[in-house]
Symmetry: C2
Amino acid sequence: MSGWLCITGLGPGDLAQRTPEVTAALAAATDLVGYGPYLARVAGHPDARRHPSDNREELDRARHALTMAEAGQRVAVVSSGDAGVFAMASAIFEAIEHGPSAWRSLDIRVLPGISAMFAVAARIGAPLGHDFCAISLSDNLKSWDIVTTRLAAVATAGLVIALYNPQSRARPWQLGAAFELLRQLLPATTPVIFATAASRPEEQIRLTTLAEADPAWADMRTLVMIGTAATRIIARPDAAPFVYTPRGMSAA
Amino acid sequence: MSGWLCITGLGPGDLAQRTPEVTAALAAATDLVGYGPYLARVAGHPDARRHPSDNREELDRARHALTMAEAGQRVAVVSSGDAGVFAMASAIFEAIEHGPSAWRSLDIRVLPGISAMFAVAARIGAPLGHDFCAISLSDNLKSWDIVTTRLAAVATAGLVIALYNPQSRARPWQLGAAFELLRQLLPATTPVIFATAASRPEEQIRLTTLAEADPAWADMRTLVMIGTAATRIIARPDAAPFVYTPRGMSAA
C-alpha cells in the first residue's frame, strides 16, 4: 500500500511562513482535502483532485480522507495555521479511534504550521513572552460553563490568553460575555489585541484595552489576545506600538 | 540608516520545518546573534559575523544586537522554536523599553517559527487538540509559588499543559514537585509525554502516565506535555501509539 495521509498546517497565509515540508507534501498529494477557502491557498500538483468541504463537516471530512488513503491515494488534509490547534488533526484521530482497525496501520503524519497566535504575536512584538494559553470560545463542542470556568482560571492565574473562534453568526454574544467576565478579574488597562488575517494583504490589527474592547471588532476569522497586568506597551514615533509581556515578574 | 534587527525562530531543528522568511533573513544578515548551539544550526552568509553567547545572558545579548542594528548592521537574533515563546523576543523588547529612545525607531521584525510544543504534538498525534497552555517551570524569573498556582489553576480547569524549561542542573527538584502537585488534581492515567530534540536525528519521545512519570527522564532540552482526563491514546500494531485530545467534551 502506497497511500498516505498528511495533516498539514498552512500557516497564517503568507507563503513565506509556510514550512518547506508542508509545501512538499502539498505538491506530492494526489488528493487535497479541506475547507474551501483554505484549499484555495494551495497550489498543489496540477493533477491533484480537490475535495473542498464546509467548515462544519470535520468528522465526515476526516473519514473521507482516511478512506482515500486506505485506497492508496496520497492525501493532504489542509488546515489554516497549525493543524493541531482547533483544526483538523484532532478530528482525524477521533475518526481513527472509532473507525476500522485498518486505519491504525496507515502512513499518517502531522506536519506543523505557524499557528495564528504566533503570527499575530510576531506582528506586534512579544505578547506571549511569558506563560500563556489558547482557548476556543466556541461552545459548539463544550458547554459555555466550561469556557467561563477556564477563562476565569487562566486570567486569575496571570496567563496571557489567545482566544480562538471568538465569534460567528451563530454565536453572537459569547465574546461580549467573555470580556465582561475578564473585566472583573483584570485591570481595565490590560492590553487587548484584535487581529484578522495576520500576514496577509488584508491584515487588520487593532490594539485596545480591556475596558474599551468591543466584540463588534471580531468575526470568525479574528484572533483575540488578552494580555496580563504585566503586559507592556512601547510607543513608537511613526509606527504602531510594540506589545510585549516581560519574561520575569515580581513575586505575588 | 539601513540597519535592521530580525528576531527569528529557527523551529525545532529540521530545516524542513524552518520557514522561508526566516531562512532568507538569516542569509541576508551581516551579524548573527544567539546561544552558541542555536547559532551552530544556521548556515548564514559566509561573511556574516557570529556572536555566540551563553544561554543566561539574554538582556546583554539583546542590547548588543540593538546596538549593532543602530550602527547600520543587519542583525538576526536566533532562538530555537519560536522566538516569542520563552526565548529572545521578550528580552529584546525589554531592552528597547528601557534603552535609548533611538532604538524605538529601528527596523525591527519578529519572524515566527514552529515552537517545540507544536513539533512534539505533531510527532505523536494531536495532544493539543483542545484548550491548552504553555508554562515555563523555571523559577529564575518568577517565584515558585506563582508556578504552582498556575499549574493548579490550569490542571483543574482541564487545559493540556506544555511545560518548558522543566529541569536543569540548577533547578533539580521542580519537575518532581510539579508532578506531585498534578497527581493530586488529575487522574493517575493522564498521559504524559517527554520529548527531547523533536524532529532531529537524536529525537527521543517517551509516552507514560502521570503516575509513572519520572523527572529523571527530563533535562533542560526536554519538553514535558501533560494531557487532561479527556486525552486519548490509540494503540497501533507496529508503531508508537497516537495521542490526541478530542475537540469536544461532555458538559462538566
